[in-house]
C-alpha cells in the first residue's frame, strides 16, 4: 500500500507539457504516480482547481509552467507567480500542508529536470503519506 499515493501535475501546454514529452522521448524513466493535466498556461490554473484536487483524492500537487520571460502569452506566468505567492501564504494561514504542493518552472528543453521534479516530489509525498487529514474534513459535520 506504500505506493498508493496520487500526485496531480497541473502543467502548461507550451513548456512543461512539452518538457514532459521530451522526458518520454528521451526515454528517461520517472515515477508513474503522477497524473498530468494540461492547461493552456499557468495563468489559467485557478487556485480552486488545486483545492478540488486535494478534495478529490490528490496527496500531492505539482504546478509547473514556462520560466519567467518565456510565457507563450507574454505575461501569464508572471501573474501566476504572484497568485502562488499569495496562495501559499493563505494556505499557511489555514494550516494546509504546503509541502504537498511543488511549484516549478520546467521549459520544453528540460526533460531531465521534469523527471527530477516528479521523482523528488513523489518521494516527499510518499514520506508524508496520503493527505487524509484534508479529505476527512468532508465527512465532518459542521456545524
Amino acid at each position: 500500500m506504500e505506493n498508493n499515493i496520487k500526485v496531480v501535475a497541473f502543467v502548461c501546454n507550451w513548456c512543461t507539457y512539452a518538457g514532459a514529452d521530451l522526458t518520454g522521448t528521451s526515454r528517461i524513466k520517472y515515477s508513474s504516480d503522477v497524473k498530468i493535466v494540461r492547461f493552456p498556461c499557468t495563468g489559467r490554473i485557478d487556485f480552486m482547481l488545486l483545492m478540488k484536487a486535494f478534495a478529490e483524492g490528490a496527496d500531492g500537487i505539482i504546478v509547473s509552467g514556462c520560466h519567467p520571460n518565456d510565457c507563450h502569452y507574454t505575461s501569464g506566468n508572471f501573474h501566476a507567480r504572484r497568485r502562488w505567492i499569495v496562495f501559499k501564504s493563505v494556505l499557511e494561514t489555514f494550516g494546509i500542508d504546503t509541502r504537498r504542493i511543488q511549484f516549478s518552472w520546467v521549459s520544453a528543453a528540460e526533460g531531465a529536470k521534469w523527471a527530477e521534479i516528479v521523482n523528488t516530489t513523489v518521494e516527499r509525498i510518499k514520506e508524508l503519506g496520503p493527505y487524509t487529514e484534508y479529505r476527512e474534513l468532508a465527512g465532518v459535520e459542521a456545524p
Binding site: F47, M48, M51, K52, A55, P68, N69, S75, F78, H79, R81, R82, R83, W84, I85, V86, F87, K88, S89, V90, L91, E92, T93, F94, G95, I96, D97, T98, Q102, F103, S104, W105, I117, E133, Y134, R135, L137, A138, G139, V140, E141, A142, P143
Partner: protein, 266 residues
C-alpha cells in the same frame, strides 16, 4: 450635530443627493444604517464614534444601482473602501458625496471620490488589543496547530455568507459559491466546504481587502476572520510591496513585476 443636519438638508434640497446613507440610533448605544431621501427625516441622523458600519457596501448593491446621486457618511474604514472601489471603476456612473468627521468632530462635506482620496490619510486601521493578542498567539502556532485551530473555528461556520454581504469589496453579481457547474464549494454542511469557502474568500480579497473588519463584525458566530485578512495583507506587503489604498494603485494580483521575488518555485 446641527451642522451635520444642515449639510444633509442642503444636499437633499439641492438635488446633489437623492439618497443619504447615514447612521441613526439603534438598540441601546448601538448605531444602525439609515437611508434617507426625505429632508423631513434628517433629524434621525447621527454621526459619532459609535458609528462603525462600513456604509460603502451599499453603494454597489443592486438595490441602489439606479440611484446616481448618493451621499454617504464615511468613517476612515469607509473612506478606504470607497477609494479602492473607485479605483476598480465601480462608481463611473455615480455622483457621490461624502460626509466625514474632522479631528474636532465637525461634519465636513466632500464631493467626489477623487477628493476623498486626497483626504484619506496614510495611516492603517488599528486592531483592538484583543485582536492583536489573538494574532500574536496565532503567529506562534505550528502548521498542525493552525489546522486544528481552524478546524475548531470553522466547525461553527454556517456559511450564512454574512461576511460576504458585509464586505464592501465583495460586489460580484455572481459568486463562486453559487456556481454549481462545476460545484466549487461543497454545499453540504461539512468542514471541507467551510475551508474551501474561507480560502476562496481570502484569495478573492488578496490585495483588495481594505482591512475594515466588516466581515468579522458581521459574523454571527464571532469567527476571527480578521486573522485571515490581516495575515494576508502582512504577507503581501512583505513579498510584493506596500499595500497602498489609492485611486490608481492596481491590486497585487492584477499586475506583476518581472522581478517578483519568491523562494519556493524550483
Amino acid at each position: 450635530m446641527k451642522r451635520l443636519h444642515q449639510i444633509v438638508s442642503e444636499l437633499l434640497a439641492s438635488g446633489k443627493a437623492k439618497l443619504v446613507i447615514g447612521y441613526e440610533k439603534g438598540t441601546g448605544e448601538k448605531r444602525r444604517p439609515a437611508f434617507i431621501s426625505d429632508a423631513n427625516e434628517v433629524e434621525r441622523l447621527v454621526f459619532d464614534s459609535q458609528c462603525s458600519h462600513n456604509l460603502s457596501v451599499y453603494l454597489t448593491k443592486p438595490e441602489y444601482k439606479h440611484v446616481t446621486e448618493i451621499a454617504v457618511f464615511a468613517t476612515p474604514q469607509t473612506m478606504r473602501a470607497v477609494v479602492r472601489l473607485a479605483g476598480e471603476n465601480q462608481f463611473q456612473d455615480k455622483k457621490l458625496s461624502f460626509i466625514v468627521m474632522d479631528q474636532d468632530q465637525n461634519a465636513l462635506l466632500i464631493e467626489g471620490a477623487e477628493v476623498l482620496a486626497n483626504h484619506l490619510g496614510k495611516e492603517k486601521i488599528a486592531l483592538s488589543s484583543a485582536q492583536e493578542e489573538l494574532l500574536a498567539k496565532f503567529e506562534a502556532m505550528s502548521r498542525e496547530e493552525r489546522f486544528a485551530y481552524w478546524k475548531e473555528q470553522l466547525s461553527n461556520c454556517v456559511k450564512c455568507y454574512a461576511c460576504r454581504a458585509a464586505c464592501p469589496m465583495c460586489y460580484c453579481t455572481r459568486c463562486t459559491v453559487e456556481v454549481n457547474q462545476p460545484q466549487w464549494i461543497s454545499v453540504p454542511s461539512s468542514l471541507q466546504g467551510n475551508f474551501e469557502y474561507h480560502i476562496m474568500r481570502a484569495m478573492h480579497m488578496a490585495g483588495r481587502c481594505v482591512d475594515c473588519g466588516s466581515c468579522e463584525a458581521a459574523c454571527p458566530l464571532g469567527l476571527p476572520l480578521n486573522i485571515i485578512t490581516r495575515r494576508m495583507i502582512k504577507d503581501i506587503e512583505a513579498s510584493l510591496g506596500p499595500d497602498i489604498v489609492s485611486m490608481d494603485t492596481k491590486s497585487v494580483l492584477n499586475t506583476f513585476q518581472p522581478n517578483d521575488k519568491e523562494n519556493f518555485i524550483r
